[in-house]
Symmetry: C2
Subunit: 130 residues, 2 copies
Amino acid sequence: MIVRDLNAARQTDRLVNADGWDSTRLLLAGDDMGFSFHITRIHENTSHVFHYKHHFESVYCIAGEGSIEELDTGTVHQIRPGVMYALNLHDRHRLTAKSEMVMACCFNPPVSGQEVHRADGSYAPIAEDA
Amino acid sequence: MIVRDLNAARQTDRLVNADGWDSTRLLLAGDDMGFSFHITRIHENTSHVFHYKHHFESVYCIAGEGSIEELDTGTVHQIRPGVMYALNLHDRHRLTAKSEMVMACCFNPPVSGQEVHRADGSYAPIAEDA
């Protein structure tokens, strides 16, 4: 059995900081669960475009409020605690936080943890999937 | 993109009620994400033995307090918001809630949603994996 605590994990390299969000990887590919599990915080009043071309991701809102826009259609869904979205079509999307959002995220295939961002703030190619 | 709300899902057959706990399946096998995702509530002052012989499960505590005992070793871990456990060894375990615990659960392989409990309170054999 693996037992991990978010607050402890945030003191380690499990915490990945990015511009306007951070993500703490509580399970990674090396844990051999077949998925990875992250707690991600989207900072207040920030907006981000993501496109996971090779992964499925589900995101459950634990706290905070915002919205997600399907960029291919313009459809906007409100996000509040209790709302889950799942990118079953590798949907290109814009995530906007009105207040800090705390999200529980599952990735399949699992993220390896190697997908760190580069000094220029971008990601190496593999990272676009993380 | 799939978008589902916990409160709405609890009004449908996505909510599975059991003795001392309930689980709302926000993603099931039919969603083709490669995992299922459930919000499970363990009722206050209840204790449960689970053993998922054929699934991996991760469980993240959103709210509430309790403990998990590894039944093969007797080791007990405290559960509070921010703690995640992952049954990477199909661990037989006892989950005990001091206060109502709200947990975000991922299963691989995904639960089909057919694993309902029987009239006698037990599960059909397939359900021991759900």
